[in-house]
């Protein structure tokens, strides 16, 4: 029951954007859970590193590129707050994900260090909350 009134030509871009957003949220949640669990089971650090690189990042790319595509079609007047939240979480998320991917790789190569995986847990936890906020803002469009 998504976005009930919209031109037919936007459907594919919206589908890819929603699919990407759901997948990046699930993959970020998986990375967060793996980062927490890897403090007890260090072999999970390799799973964490792969999850960030092969699941979270590709899903983020799908969400962000499809979001840009639909935004270019929609030509939204003004600068609504819900759209600003979407851009902030999308673009700010890239910075967080790059840092998390680097720290994830460091945690595999330097297994004696515990702080990188702790930092990844914090980053992915913060990003997960941000993704939920963006979902609520972009679906509910408060103030519009």
């Amino acid at each position: 029951m998504l976005a009930i009134l919209r031109p037919e030509g936007w459907n594919f871009a919206l589908f890819l954007h929603v699919l990407g957003a759901t997948l990046v949220t699930g993959a970020t949640a998986a990375a967060f859970a793996t980062a927490l669990a890897s403090r007890r089971w260090p072999w999970l650090r390799r799973v964490l590193s792969r999850t960030l690189l092969l699941a979270v990042f590709p899903a983020w790319l799908l969400m962000r590129l499809a979001g840009q595509w639909i935004e270019s079609k929609e030509n939204i007047p003004g600068d609504p707050g819900w759209l600003g939240v979407g851009f902030l979480v999308g673009d700010g998320g890239l910075v967080l994900l790059i840092i998390a991917m680097i720290l994830g790789a460091v945690s595999v190569r330097r297994p004696e260090r515990r702080w990188p995986v702790g930092a990844v847990a914090v980053i992915t936890g913060v990003y997960l909350v941000a993704l939920v906020v963006a979902m609520v803002a972009m679906t509910g469009k408060p103030g519009s």
């Binding site: 029951m1 759901t22 997948l23 699930g26 993959a27 998986a30 799973v47 979902m135 509910g140």
Partner: protein, 158 residues
């Protein structure tokens, strides 16, 4: 926000929990296929339980708030083909997911037993993890949910 947008937020929260949960489960499912030690496979199965809860809550939210939206919106009818098809596929996805989950539970129980009995790699566990019927049902359930998402966006016949 008006009522339509609140209903949509809860409906979408369900979509995120289902597809996000499916992604979550898929990641640990693939990781389990790459491991040999039963104790490590048990850890991955235990992490997958979070996804199972996410999918169950999400499926409930999608159907409850989806049907509420149909009842609430003037331009969507109960008789619309895409609404009926989506509800049927919702039941299909549930049936596939729960059957796949039951077979996964048997694999987890085997991994737990092997972990307690010396934690050595086992061909039986490897075969159980790669059971094509189980994999087809679990991944098929996710695909059916994606088809429902397609119906929700395109609304064929509307």
């Amino acid at each position: 926000m008006d009522r339509y947008h609140w209903l949509l937020v809860f409906h979408m929260a369900g979509v995120f929990l289902v597809l996000g949960g499916a992604m979550f489960a898929g990641i640990f499912n693939l990781a389990a296929l790459r491991r040999e030690r039963p104790s490590e496979i048990v850890v991955l199965f235990n992490l997958t339980r979070i996804a199972v809860i996410s999918v169950m809550v999400g499926m409930t939210l999608t159907i409850v708030f989806g049907l509420w939206l149909v009842a609430d919106l003037d331009f969507v009818e109960w008789s619309d083909a895409w609404v009926i098809t989506a509800v049927i596929l919702w039941f299909v996805a549930n049936a596939l997911g729960s059957n796949g989950g039951r077979r996964d539970r048997r694999a987890r129980e085997l991994a737990e037993r092997l972990a307690a009995e010396g934690d050595q790699p086992s061909p039986e566990l490897r075969a159980s993890l790669r059971d094509p019927v189980s994999l087809a049902m679990s991944w098929g359930s996710g695909l059916v949910v994606i088809v429902i998402l397609v119906l929700m966006i395109w609304k064929p016949g509307h």
